[in-house]
Protein backbone atom coordinates (compact mmCIF):
# COMPACT_ATOMS: atom_id res chain seq x y z
CA UNK A 1 0.00 0.00 0.00
CA UNK A 2 1.30 3.44 -0.93
CA UNK A 3 1.36 6.75 0.88
CA UNK A 4 -0.36 10.08 0.50
CA UNK A 5 1.72 13.19 0.08
CA UNK A 6 1.45 14.23 3.72
CA UNK A 7 2.22 10.71 4.95
CA UNK A 8 5.43 10.78 2.89
CA UNK A 9 6.41 14.22 4.16
CA UNK A 10 5.74 13.30 7.79
CA UNK A 11 7.66 10.03 7.50
CA UNK A 12 10.71 11.86 6.13
CA UNK A 13 10.49 14.65 8.71
CA UNK A 14 10.14 12.15 11.55
CA UNK A 15 12.94 9.88 10.37
CA UNK A 16 10.59 6.94 9.80
CA UNK A 17 10.17 4.58 6.87
CA UNK A 18 6.41 4.51 7.17
CA UNK A 19 3.64 6.17 9.10
CA UNK A 20 -0.04 5.49 9.52
CA UNK A 21 -3.10 7.68 10.01
CA UNK A 22 -3.63 8.59 13.65
CA UNK A 23 -0.03 7.93 14.66
CA UNK A 24 1.45 10.74 16.77
CA UNK A 25 4.76 12.16 15.56
CA UNK A 26 7.18 14.96 16.30
CA UNK A 27 8.26 16.02 12.81
CA UNK A 28 11.25 18.33 12.31
CA UNK A 29 10.11 21.76 11.14
CA UNK A 30 11.66 23.26 8.00
CA UNK A 31 10.04 26.68 8.28
CA UNK A 32 8.27 28.38 11.21
CA UNK A 33 6.36 31.56 10.38
CA UNK A 34 4.84 34.23 12.61
CA UNK A 35 3.53 37.75 12.12
CA UNK A 36 2.66 40.37 14.75
CA UNK A 37 1.53 37.57 17.05
CA UNK A 38 5.24 36.79 17.31
CA UNK A 39 4.99 39.10 20.33
CA UNK A 40 2.95 36.42 22.12
CA UNK A 41 5.26 33.68 20.86
CA UNK A 42 8.23 35.54 22.35
CA UNK A 43 6.37 35.84 25.66
CA UNK A 44 5.64 32.09 25.74
CA UNK A 45 9.16 31.21 24.52
CA UNK A 46 10.72 33.16 27.40
CA UNK A 47 8.27 31.39 29.77
CA UNK A 48 9.61 28.02 28.59
CA UNK A 49 13.16 29.09 29.49
CA UNK A 50 12.20 30.69 32.80
CA UNK A 51 14.06 29.19 35.80
CA UNK A 52 15.94 26.72 33.58
CA UNK A 53 19.24 28.58 33.91
CA UNK A 54 19.56 28.31 30.13
CA UNK A 55 19.89 31.31 27.80
CA UNK A 56 16.77 31.59 25.61
CA UNK A 57 18.02 30.76 22.12
CA UNK A 58 15.87 29.65 19.19
CA UNK A 59 16.76 26.27 17.70
CA UNK A 60 17.64 27.62 14.23
CA UNK A 61 17.25 31.31 13.39
CA UNK A 62 17.51 30.58 9.64
CA UNK A 63 14.30 28.55 9.75
CA UNK A 64 12.15 31.20 11.39
CA UNK A 65 10.28 33.76 9.28
CA UNK A 66 8.58 36.82 10.75
CA UNK A 67 6.50 39.11 8.58
CA UNK A 68 4.62 42.20 9.74
CA UNK A 69 1.29 42.28 7.93
CA UNK A 70 -1.70 42.29 10.25
CA UNK A 71 -1.61 45.94 11.31
CA UNK A 72 0.83 47.81 9.05
CA UNK A 73 1.87 50.54 9.52
CA UNK A 74 0.89 50.19 13.18
CA UNK A 75 -2.67 51.35 13.93
CA UNK A 76 -2.02 51.82 17.66
CA UNK A 77 0.76 52.36 20.16
CA UNK A 78 0.11 48.84 21.46
CA UNK A 79 0.82 47.28 18.06
CA UNK A 80 3.82 49.56 17.51
CA UNK A 81 5.25 48.47 20.87
CA UNK A 82 4.72 44.79 20.03
CA UNK A 83 6.40 45.31 16.65
CA UNK A 84 9.32 47.03 18.39
CA UNK A 85 9.66 44.10 20.81
CA UNK A 86 9.73 41.67 17.87
CA UNK A 87 12.38 43.71 15.99
CA UNK A 88 14.64 43.56 19.05
CA UNK A 89 14.12 39.80 19.39
CA UNK A 90 14.80 39.24 15.68
CA UNK A 91 18.07 41.16 15.98
CA UNK A 92 19.17 39.41 19.18
CA UNK A 93 18.42 35.94 17.83
CA UNK A 94 19.85 36.53 14.35
CA UNK A 95 16.59 35.77 12.51
CA UNK A 96 17.19 36.57 8.82
CA UNK A 97 13.81 35.87 7.19
CA UNK A 98 12.36 39.04 8.68
CA UNK A 99 10.10 41.27 6.64
CA UNK A 100 9.51 44.61 8.28
CA UNK A 101 7.20 47.38 7.06
CA UNK A 102 9.12 48.08 3.85
CA UNK A 103 8.18 48.73 0.24
CA UNK A 104 11.05 46.64 -1.09
CA UNK A 105 10.31 43.35 0.71
CA UNK A 106 7.14 43.67 2.72
CA UNK A 107 3.70 42.16 2.26
CA UNK A 108 1.25 39.57 3.56
CA UNK A 109 3.05 36.62 5.15
CA UNK A 110 1.51 33.96 2.92
CA UNK A 111 2.54 35.79 -0.23
CA UNK A 112 6.01 36.65 1.13
CA UNK A 113 6.82 33.02 2.00
CA UNK A 114 5.98 31.78 -1.48
CA UNK A 115 7.42 34.63 -3.55
CA UNK A 116 10.66 34.63 -1.50
CA UNK A 117 11.27 30.94 -2.21
CA UNK A 118 11.15 30.06 1.50
CA UNK A 119 8.79 27.11 0.93
CA UNK A 120 9.88 24.00 -0.97
CA UNK A 121 8.10 20.76 -1.89
CA UNK A 122 8.20 18.26 0.95
CA UNK A 123 8.79 20.84 3.68
CA UNK A 124 7.01 20.83 7.02
CA UNK A 125 5.83 24.43 7.45
CA UNK A 126 4.09 25.71 10.56
CA UNK A 127 2.71 29.19 11.08
CA UNK A 128 0.87 31.05 13.81
CA UNK A 129 -1.84 31.80 11.28
CA UNK A 130 -4.63 29.50 10.19
CA UNK A 131 -4.08 30.33 6.51
CA UNK A 132 -0.62 28.74 6.65
CA UNK A 133 -2.42 26.00 4.68
CA UNK A 134 -1.67 28.25 1.66
CA UNK A 135 1.83 26.80 1.30
CA UNK A 136 0.52 23.37 0.41
CA UNK A 137 0.29 24.89 -3.07
CA UNK A 138 4.04 24.30 -3.38
CA UNK A 139 3.81 20.69 -2.20
CA UNK A 140 4.65 21.33 1.47
CA UNK A 141 2.73 20.09 4.51
CA UNK A 142 1.81 23.47 5.95
CA UNK A 143 -0.53 24.05 8.87
CA UNK A 144 -1.57 26.65 11.40
CA UNK A 145 -0.64 26.41 15.07
CA UNK A 146 -1.08 28.55 18.18
CA UNK A 147 1.51 30.86 19.70
CA UNK A 148 2.47 28.54 22.58
CA UNK A 149 2.89 25.66 20.13
CA UNK A 150 5.18 27.93 18.12
CA UNK A 151 7.20 28.66 21.26
CA UNK A 152 7.74 24.89 21.51
CA UNK A 153 8.88 24.82 17.87
CA UNK A 154 11.30 27.71 18.45
CA UNK A 155 12.69 25.77 21.43
CA UNK A 156 12.90 22.25 20.04
CA UNK A 157 12.70 22.59 16.24
CA UNK A 158 9.92 20.05 16.17
CA UNK A 159 6.16 20.25 15.97
CA UNK A 160 4.96 18.33 19.03
CA UNK A 161 2.18 15.80 18.96
CA UNK A 162 1.23 15.93 15.30
CA UNK A 163 -1.29 13.25 14.46
CA UNK A 164 -0.92 11.87 10.96
CA UNK A 165 -4.09 13.15 9.30
CA UNK A 166 -6.28 11.20 6.91
CA UNK A 167 -6.43 12.67 3.41
CA UNK A 168 -9.35 13.60 1.18
CA UNK A 169 -8.49 13.38 -2.50
CA UNK A 170 -10.20 16.03 -4.63
CA UNK A 171 -9.96 15.34 -8.35
CA UNK A 172 -10.78 18.25 -10.64
CA UNK A 173 -11.09 17.83 -14.39
CA UNK A 174 -12.46 20.02 -17.18
CA UNK A 175 -11.83 23.58 -18.22
CA UNK A 176 -13.15 26.56 -16.28
CA UNK A 177 -15.85 28.47 -18.18
CA UNK A 178 -15.13 32.18 -18.84
CA UNK A 179 -15.21 34.36 -15.68
CA UNK A 180 -14.92 31.25 -13.44
CA UNK A 181 -11.71 30.19 -11.68
CA UNK A 182 -9.96 28.72 -8.63
CA UNK A 183 -11.93 30.85 -6.10
CA UNK A 184 -15.23 29.51 -7.45
CA UNK A 185 -13.83 25.98 -7.31
CA UNK A 186 -12.81 26.20 -3.65
CA UNK A 187 -16.02 27.97 -2.59
CA UNK A 188 -17.99 25.25 -4.38
CA UNK A 189 -15.99 22.55 -2.56
CA UNK A 190 -16.46 24.17 0.86
CA UNK A 191 -20.19 24.55 0.21
CA UNK A 192 -20.36 20.89 -0.77
CA UNK A 193 -18.47 19.37 2.17
CA UNK A 194 -19.30 22.08 4.81
CA UNK A 195 -17.17 24.20 7.15
CA UNK A 196 -16.20 21.08 9.12
CA UNK A 197 -16.18 18.63 6.21
CA UNK A 198 -12.41 18.26 6.29
CA UNK A 199 -11.79 18.74 10.04
CA UNK A 200 -8.54 17.05 11.14
CA UNK A 201 -7.92 15.96 7.53
CA UNK A 202 -5.84 17.11 4.60
CA UNK A 203 -7.23 17.94 1.16
CA UNK A 204 -4.94 16.73 -1.65
CA UNK A 205 -5.76 18.27 -5.04
CA UNK A 206 -5.48 16.24 -8.25
CA UNK A 207 -6.71 16.21 -11.85
CA UNK A 208 -6.11 17.88 -15.18
CA UNK A 209 -7.50 21.25 -14.04
CA UNK A 210 -5.03 21.38 -11.15
CA UNK A 211 -2.10 20.28 -13.31
CA UNK A 212 -2.83 23.12 -15.76
CA UNK A 213 -3.45 25.66 -12.99
CA UNK A 214 -0.71 28.21 -12.28
CA UNK A 215 0.66 28.36 -8.74
CA UNK A 216 -1.31 31.56 -8.11
CA UNK A 217 -4.53 29.54 -8.42
CA UNK A 218 -3.22 26.62 -6.36
CA UNK A 219 -2.41 29.10 -3.59
CA UNK A 220 -6.10 30.13 -3.57
CA UNK A 221 -7.25 26.51 -3.20
CA UNK A 222 -4.85 25.69 -0.37
CA UNK A 223 -5.40 29.05 1.35
CA UNK A 224 -9.10 28.34 1.74
CA UNK A 225 -8.87 24.61 2.50
CA UNK A 226 -8.86 25.60 6.18
CA UNK A 227 -12.37 27.01 5.68
CA UNK A 228 -13.54 23.42 5.26
CA UNK A 229 -11.69 22.67 8.50
CA UNK A 230 -8.73 21.02 6.76
CA UNK A 231 -5.42 20.76 8.60
CA UNK A 232 -3.91 21.63 5.25
CA UNK A 233 -4.52 21.68 1.52
CA UNK A 234 -1.78 20.29 -0.69
CA UNK A 235 -0.97 20.05 -4.40
CA UNK A 236 1.59 17.47 -5.58
CA UNK A 237 4.65 19.37 -6.84
CA UNK A 238 5.25 19.26 -10.60
CA UNK A 239 6.80 21.21 -13.48
CA UNK A 240 4.61 24.22 -12.66
CA UNK A 241 5.95 24.18 -9.07
CA UNK A 242 9.49 24.20 -10.46
CA UNK A 243 8.63 27.00 -12.88
CA UNK A 244 7.17 29.12 -10.09
CA UNK A 245 10.05 28.56 -7.68
CA UNK A 246 12.67 29.23 -10.38
CA UNK A 247 11.06 32.09 -12.31
CA UNK A 248 8.95 33.87 -9.72
CA UNK A 249 10.69 33.03 -6.45
CA UNK A 250 14.27 33.07 -7.76
CA UNK A 251 15.28 29.70 -6.26
CA UNK A 252 18.65 28.52 -7.57
CA UNK A 253 19.27 25.34 -5.57
CA UNK A 254 18.15 21.86 -6.51
CA UNK A 255 14.43 21.30 -5.84
CA UNK A 256 13.51 17.67 -5.15
CA UNK A 257 9.85 16.97 -5.92
CA UNK A 258 7.62 14.88 -3.67
CA UNK A 259 4.55 13.13 -5.04
CA UNK A 260 2.00 10.76 -3.53
CA UNK A 261 1.98 7.08 -4.48
CA UNK A 262 -0.56 6.00 -7.08
CA UNK A 263 -1.93 3.42 -4.63
CA UNK A 264 -2.13 5.76 -1.63
CA UNK A 265 -5.13 5.26 0.63
CA UNK A 266 -7.62 8.13 0.87
CA UNK A 267 -10.42 8.62 3.39
CA UNK A 268 -12.66 10.04 0.69
CA UNK A 269 -12.48 10.88 -3.02
CA UNK A 270 -14.43 13.82 -4.42
CA UNK A 271 -14.66 14.50 -8.16
CA UNK A 272 -15.47 17.91 -9.57
CA UNK A 273 -16.10 18.94 -13.18
CA UNK A 274 -14.67 22.47 -13.50
CA UNK A 275 -16.58 23.02 -16.75
CA UNK A 276 -19.87 22.91 -14.83
CA UNK A 277 -18.91 25.53 -12.25
CA UNK A 278 -20.51 28.97 -12.07
CA UNK A 279 -19.41 32.08 -10.12
CA UNK A 280 -19.93 31.26 -6.43
CA UNK A 281 -20.75 33.49 -3.47
CA UNK A 282 -20.24 32.57 0.21
CA UNK A 283 -23.04 34.33 2.08
CA UNK A 284 -22.97 35.53 5.71
CA UNK A 285 -21.94 34.32 8.25
CA UNK A 286 -20.26 31.04 7.36
CA UNK A 287 -17.95 30.22 4.46
CA UNK A 288 -19.96 27.10 3.63
CA UNK A 289 -23.15 29.12 3.01
CA UNK A 290 -22.35 29.06 -0.71
CA UNK A 291 -24.77 30.05 -3.47
CA UNK A 292 -24.55 30.55 -7.23
CA UNK A 293 -24.12 34.25 -8.08
CA UNK A 294 -27.55 34.48 -9.71
CA UNK A 295 -29.23 33.59 -6.40
CA UNK A 296 -27.88 36.75 -4.76
CA UNK A 297 -27.40 39.02 -7.78
CA UNK A 298 -28.80 42.52 -7.26
CA UNK A 299 -27.94 42.76 -3.57
CA UNK A 300 -26.86 46.32 -2.73
CA UNK A 301 -23.26 46.77 -1.60
CA UNK A 302 -21.45 49.44 0.43
CA UNK A 303 -17.88 48.20 0.15
CA UNK A 304 -15.98 45.91 -2.20
CA UNK A 305 -12.57 44.54 -1.30
CA UNK A 306 -10.16 42.99 -3.79
CA UNK A 307 -6.97 41.66 -2.26
CA UNK A 308 -5.68 39.63 0.72
CA UNK A 309 -3.64 36.43 0.91
CA UNK A 310 -6.44 34.72 -1.00
CA UNK A 311 -6.89 36.93 -4.07
CA UNK A 312 -4.42 39.81 -4.00
CA UNK A 313 -1.98 38.46 -6.59
CA UNK A 314 -0.96 39.99 -9.90
CA UNK A 315 -3.40 37.91 -11.96
CA UNK A 316 -6.24 38.95 -9.61
CA UNK A 317 -5.37 42.62 -10.05
CA UNK A 318 -5.10 42.08 -13.83
CA UNK A 319 -8.63 40.64 -13.86
CA UNK A 320 -9.96 43.58 -11.84
CA UNK A 321 -8.17 46.18 -13.96
CA UNK A 322 -9.36 44.46 -17.16
CA UNK A 323 -12.99 44.71 -16.07
CA UNK A 324 -12.75 48.22 -14.59
CA UNK A 325 -10.54 49.95 -17.18
CA UNK A 326 -12.38 52.95 -18.63
CA UNK A 327 -15.36 52.24 -16.38
CA UNK A 328 -16.43 53.83 -13.08
CA UNK A 329 -17.01 52.35 -9.64
CA UNK A 330 -20.68 52.98 -8.75
CA UNK A 331 -21.05 56.17 -6.72
CA UNK A 332 -22.52 54.51 -3.63
CA UNK A 333 -19.85 51.86 -3.21
CA UNK A 334 -16.24 52.01 -2.01
CA UNK A 335 -13.72 49.81 -3.81
CA UNK A 336 -10.58 48.95 -1.82
CA UNK A 337 -7.62 47.16 -3.41
CA UNK A 338 -5.12 45.38 -1.15
CA UNK A 339 -2.25 43.83 -3.17
CA UNK A 340 -0.81 40.77 -1.39
CA UNK A 341 2.75 42.12 -1.36
CA UNK A 342 4.78 45.18 -2.30
CA UNK A 343 6.42 43.20 -5.08
CA UNK A 344 2.96 42.61 -6.57
CA UNK A 345 2.07 46.25 -5.92
CA UNK A 346 5.13 47.35 -7.91
CA UNK A 347 4.41 45.01 -10.83
CA UNK A 348 0.77 46.13 -10.92
CA UNK A 349 1.99 49.72 -10.93
CA UNK A 350 4.38 49.04 -13.82
CA UNK A 351 1.70 47.26 -15.83
CA UNK A 352 -0.71 50.14 -15.36
CA UNK A 353 -3.29 48.07 -13.42
CA UNK A 354 -3.24 50.39 -10.42
CA UNK A 355 -3.77 53.55 -12.46
CA UNK A 356 -6.66 51.88 -14.34
CA UNK A 357 -8.22 50.94 -11.01
CA UNK A 358 -7.66 54.41 -9.52
CA UNK A 359 -9.15 56.07 -12.60
CA UNK A 360 -12.22 53.91 -12.06
CA UNK A 361 -12.47 55.16 -8.48
CA UNK A 362 -10.70 52.43 -6.48
CA UNK A 363 -8.57 53.21 -3.45
CA UNK A 364 -5.25 51.35 -3.44
CA UNK A 365 -4.32 50.40 0.12
CA UNK A 366 -0.89 49.15 1.17
CA UNK A 367 -0.44 45.34 1.33
CA UNK A 368 -1.71 43.91 4.60
CA UNK A 369 -4.37 41.82 6.34
CA UNK A 370 -6.05 44.61 8.30
CA UNK A 371 -9.28 44.97 6.36
CA UNK A 372 -9.99 41.23 6.02
CA UNK A 373 -10.03 40.65 9.75
CA UNK A 374 -11.28 44.05 10.80
CA UNK A 375 -8.23 45.25 12.69
CA UNK A 376 -6.95 48.06 10.47
CA UNK A 377 -8.56 50.09 7.64
CA UNK A 378 -11.75 49.35 5.75
CA UNK A 379 -14.05 48.66 8.72
CA UNK A 380 -17.78 48.43 7.95
CA UNK A 381 -20.54 50.63 9.37
CA UNK A 382 -23.65 49.27 11.12
CA UNK A 383 -25.94 47.54 8.64
CA UNK A 384 -23.42 47.76 5.80
CA UNK A 385 -22.78 44.99 3.28
CA UNK A 386 -19.38 44.10 1.84
CA UNK A 387 -18.37 41.87 -1.04
CA UNK A 388 -14.78 40.66 -0.77
CA UNK A 389 -12.26 38.38 -2.43
CA UNK A 390 -10.95 37.53 1.06
CA UNK A 391 -11.40 34.20 2.82
CA UNK A 392 -13.75 34.69 5.79
CA UNK A 393 -17.23 36.10 6.26
CA UNK A 394 -17.74 35.32 9.96
CA UNK A 395 -19.92 37.59 12.03
CA UNK A 396 -17.74 40.47 13.19
CA UNK A 397 -15.13 39.94 10.49
CA UNK A 398 -14.26 43.34 8.89
CA UNK A 399 -14.64 44.94 12.27
CA UNK A 400 -18.41 45.09 12.83
CA UNK A 401 -20.77 42.39 14.14
CA UNK A 402 -23.69 44.40 12.73
CA UNK A 403 -22.45 44.19 9.15
CA UNK A 404 -22.37 41.45 6.50
CA UNK A 405 -19.56 40.08 4.35
CA UNK A 406 -20.05 38.08 1.13
CA UNK A 407 -17.08 36.29 -0.47
CA UNK A 408 -16.39 35.94 -4.18
CA UNK A 409 -13.81 35.86 -6.99
CA UNK A 410 -12.03 38.96 -8.35
CA UNK A 411 -14.23 38.70 -11.47
CA UNK A 412 -17.46 38.99 -9.46
CA UNK A 413 -16.00 41.73 -7.23
CA UNK A 414 -14.88 43.88 -10.18
CA UNK A 415 -18.13 43.47 -12.13
CA UNK A 416 -20.09 44.31 -8.97
CA UNK A 417 -18.01 47.46 -8.40
CA UNK A 418 -19.41 48.93 -11.61
CA UNK A 419 -23.05 48.28 -10.69
CA UNK A 420 -22.88 48.64 -6.90
CA UNK A 421 -24.83 45.40 -6.52
CA UNK A 422 -23.76 41.75 -6.64
CA UNK A 423 -23.34 41.09 -10.34
CA UNK A 424 -22.74 38.04 -12.52
CA UNK A 425 -19.48 38.85 -14.35
CA UNK A 426 -20.59 36.68 -17.29
CA UNK A 427 -23.33 39.22 -17.96
CA UNK A 428 -20.98 42.19 -17.73
CA UNK A 429 -21.11 45.03 -15.23
CA UNK A 430 -23.59 47.28 -17.02
Amino acid sequence: MGYTLVEKILARASGKLSVKVGEVLEPAVDLAMSHENGALVINQFLEVYRDTGLPPKVWDPSKIAIIFDHRVPAESSKTATNQKKIREFVKNQGITKFHDIRGDRGGICHQILSESGYVRPGYVVVGTDSHTTTHGALGAFAFGIGATEMAAVWTLGKALNVEVPATIKVVVNGEFPPMVGPKDLILHLIGKISAQGANFRVIEFHGETIRKMPTSGRLVLCNMSVEAGATSGIVPSDTETLRYLREEAGVKEEIPLVTPDADAEYAQVIEIDAAKLTPQIACPHTVDNVKAVNEVAGLKLNQIVIGSCTNGRLDDLAVAAGILKDRKVASEVRLLIFPASWSIYKKALQKGYLSDLMEAGAVIVNPGCGCCLGVHQGALGDGEVALATTNRNFKGRMGNPNAEVYLCSPQVAAASAITGVITDPRKGGN
Partner: protein, 164 residues
Amino acid sequence: MAKVIHQFGDDISTDIIYPGRFMATVLPNETPAYAFADELELNAKLKNQEFPAGSVIVAGNNFGCGSSREQAASAVKGYELTMMAKGFARIFLQNAINLGLNLVVAPELEAKVGDDLEVKGDTVFNHTSGRSFKIEPLPQARQAIIDAGGLIAYTRKKLLEKVK
Protein backbone atom coordinates in the same frame (compact mmCIF):
# COMPACT_ATOMS: atom_id res chain seq x y z
CA MET B 1 -21.76 19.93 39.72
CA ALA B 2 -21.55 22.98 37.44
CA LYS B 3 -24.12 25.19 35.77
CA VAL B 4 -24.42 25.89 32.05
CA ILE B 5 -24.10 29.65 31.65
CA HIS B 6 -24.35 29.94 27.87
CA GLN B 7 -25.34 27.81 24.91
CA PHE B 8 -23.93 28.18 21.40
CA GLY B 9 -24.82 26.40 18.14
CA ASP B 10 -22.50 24.98 15.46
CA ASP B 11 -19.53 26.65 13.73
CA ILE B 12 -18.78 29.30 16.36
CA SER B 13 -15.70 31.04 14.97
CA THR B 14 -12.82 32.54 16.88
CA ASP B 15 -14.15 35.92 15.65
CA ILE B 16 -17.09 35.33 18.02
CA ILE B 17 -14.91 34.03 20.86
CA TYR B 18 -12.33 36.79 20.52
CA PRO B 19 -13.07 39.44 17.83
CA GLY B 20 -10.18 40.33 15.53
CA ARG B 21 -10.20 43.97 16.48
CA PHE B 22 -8.83 43.07 19.94
CA MET B 23 -5.96 40.98 18.59
CA ALA B 24 -3.34 43.63 19.38
CA THR B 25 -3.91 42.47 22.96
CA VAL B 26 -2.00 39.22 23.39
CA LEU B 27 -1.11 38.57 27.02
CA PRO B 28 -3.19 35.91 28.80
CA ASN B 29 -3.85 38.24 31.76
CA GLU B 30 -5.29 40.91 29.44
CA THR B 31 -7.33 38.88 26.93
CA PRO B 32 -10.26 37.80 29.21
CA ALA B 33 -11.70 41.34 29.08
CA TYR B 34 -12.58 40.71 25.41
CA ALA B 35 -13.91 37.14 25.70
CA PHE B 36 -17.07 36.94 23.55
CA ALA B 37 -16.85 40.74 23.23
CA ASP B 38 -19.71 40.97 20.70
CA GLU B 39 -22.00 38.78 22.84
CA LEU B 40 -22.58 41.82 25.00
CA GLU B 41 -24.57 40.22 27.83
CA LEU B 42 -22.23 37.25 28.23
CA ASN B 43 -19.15 39.49 28.11
CA ALA B 44 -20.58 41.84 30.75
CA LYS B 45 -21.52 38.99 33.10
CA LEU B 46 -18.07 37.43 32.75
CA LYS B 47 -16.39 40.73 33.53
CA ASN B 48 -18.67 41.20 36.56
CA GLN B 49 -17.43 37.84 37.87
CA GLU B 50 -21.02 36.53 37.99
CA PHE B 51 -19.99 32.93 37.27
CA PRO B 52 -17.98 30.69 39.60
CA ALA B 53 -14.93 28.90 38.20
CA GLY B 54 -15.92 25.65 36.50
CA SER B 55 -19.12 27.08 35.03
CA VAL B 56 -19.87 25.57 31.64
CA ILE B 57 -20.35 26.96 28.15
CA VAL B 58 -21.89 24.39 25.81
CA ALA B 59 -21.65 24.40 22.02
CA GLY B 60 -22.42 22.30 18.97
CA ASN B 61 -19.98 21.08 16.35
CA ASN B 62 -16.82 22.81 15.11
CA PHE B 63 -16.47 25.24 18.04
CA GLY B 64 -13.49 27.54 17.54
CA CYS B 65 -13.27 27.31 13.77
CA GLY B 66 -11.29 29.92 11.84
CA SER B 67 -8.27 31.82 13.07
CA SER B 68 -5.37 30.32 15.03
CA ARG B 69 -5.45 33.23 17.50
CA GLU B 70 -4.53 31.83 20.89
CA GLN B 71 -6.37 34.71 22.55
CA ALA B 72 -9.60 32.76 21.95
CA ALA B 73 -8.40 30.02 24.31
CA SER B 74 -6.62 32.27 26.82
CA ALA B 75 -9.65 34.59 27.13
CA VAL B 76 -11.94 31.69 28.13
CA LYS B 77 -9.24 30.11 30.30
CA GLY B 78 -8.95 33.41 32.17
CA TYR B 79 -12.39 32.82 33.73
CA GLU B 80 -11.61 29.15 34.44
CA LEU B 81 -14.70 28.11 32.49
CA THR B 82 -15.26 24.60 31.16
CA MET B 83 -15.91 24.38 27.41
CA MET B 84 -18.13 21.46 26.40
CA ALA B 85 -18.95 20.87 22.75
CA LYS B 86 -20.06 18.19 20.33
CA GLY B 87 -16.78 18.89 18.55
CA PHE B 88 -13.93 21.41 18.34
CA ALA B 89 -11.97 22.78 15.40
CA ARG B 90 -8.37 21.55 15.32
CA ILE B 91 -6.32 24.62 16.19
CA PHE B 92 -8.66 25.82 18.94
CA LEU B 93 -8.65 22.33 20.48
CA GLN B 94 -4.86 22.25 20.49
CA ASN B 95 -4.56 25.81 21.84
CA ALA B 96 -7.01 25.01 24.63
CA ILE B 97 -5.06 21.91 25.63
CA ASN B 98 -1.77 23.79 25.47
CA LEU B 99 -3.06 26.49 27.82
CA GLY B 100 -4.88 24.14 30.16
CA LEU B 101 -8.42 25.24 29.36
CA ASN B 102 -10.80 22.57 30.63
CA LEU B 103 -12.38 20.93 27.57
CA VAL B 104 -14.97 18.20 27.16
CA VAL B 105 -15.81 16.63 23.80
CA ALA B 106 -19.20 14.92 23.91
CA PRO B 107 -20.58 14.33 20.40
CA GLU B 108 -24.17 13.72 21.57
CA LEU B 109 -24.21 16.44 24.21
CA GLU B 110 -27.53 18.17 24.92
CA ALA B 111 -27.74 20.86 27.57
CA LYS B 112 -29.22 24.31 27.93
CA VAL B 113 -28.63 27.38 30.04
CA GLY B 114 -29.26 26.67 33.73
CA ASP B 115 -28.77 22.90 33.48
CA ASP B 116 -26.62 21.24 36.14
CA LEU B 117 -23.85 19.13 34.63
CA GLU B 118 -21.41 16.75 36.19
CA VAL B 119 -18.44 14.99 34.63
CA LYS B 120 -17.76 11.52 36.07
CA GLY B 121 -15.20 9.34 34.33
CA ASP B 122 -16.06 9.15 30.66
CA THR B 123 -19.59 10.51 31.02
CA VAL B 124 -21.30 13.89 31.32
CA PHE B 125 -24.43 13.70 33.48
CA ASN B 126 -27.09 16.32 32.88
CA HIS B 127 -28.87 16.25 36.25
CA THR B 128 -31.55 18.66 35.02
CA SER B 129 -32.69 16.56 32.05
CA GLY B 130 -31.68 13.25 33.64
CA ARG B 131 -29.70 12.26 30.56
CA SER B 132 -26.05 11.29 30.19
CA PHE B 133 -23.57 11.60 27.33
CA LYS B 134 -20.36 9.75 26.48
CA ILE B 135 -17.15 11.76 26.48
CA GLU B 136 -14.72 11.27 23.61
CA PRO B 137 -11.25 10.78 25.12
CA LEU B 138 -8.42 13.03 23.92
CA PRO B 139 -5.60 11.28 22.06
CA GLN B 140 -2.91 10.06 24.47
CA ALA B 141 -0.26 12.48 23.19
CA ARG B 142 -2.54 15.39 23.99
CA GLN B 143 -3.35 13.99 27.41
CA ALA B 144 0.42 14.03 28.11
CA ILE B 145 0.44 17.83 27.69
CA ILE B 146 -2.47 18.19 30.10
CA ASP B 147 -0.77 15.89 32.61
CA ALA B 148 2.42 17.99 32.40
CA GLY B 149 0.40 21.10 33.30
CA GLY B 150 0.25 22.63 29.83
CA LEU B 151 2.54 22.97 26.86
CA ILE B 152 4.98 25.41 28.43
CA ALA B 153 5.80 22.99 31.23
CA TYR B 154 5.81 20.07 28.76
CA THR B 155 8.26 21.90 26.45
CA ARG B 156 10.46 22.97 29.37
CA LYS B 157 10.70 19.33 30.44
CA LYS B 158 11.71 18.28 26.91
CA LEU B 159 14.24 21.13 26.71
CA LEU B 160 15.89 20.05 29.94
CA GLU B 161 16.00 16.43 28.76
CA LYS B 162 17.62 17.58 25.51
CA VAL B 163 20.42 19.57 27.14
CA LYS B 164 21.21 16.90 29.75
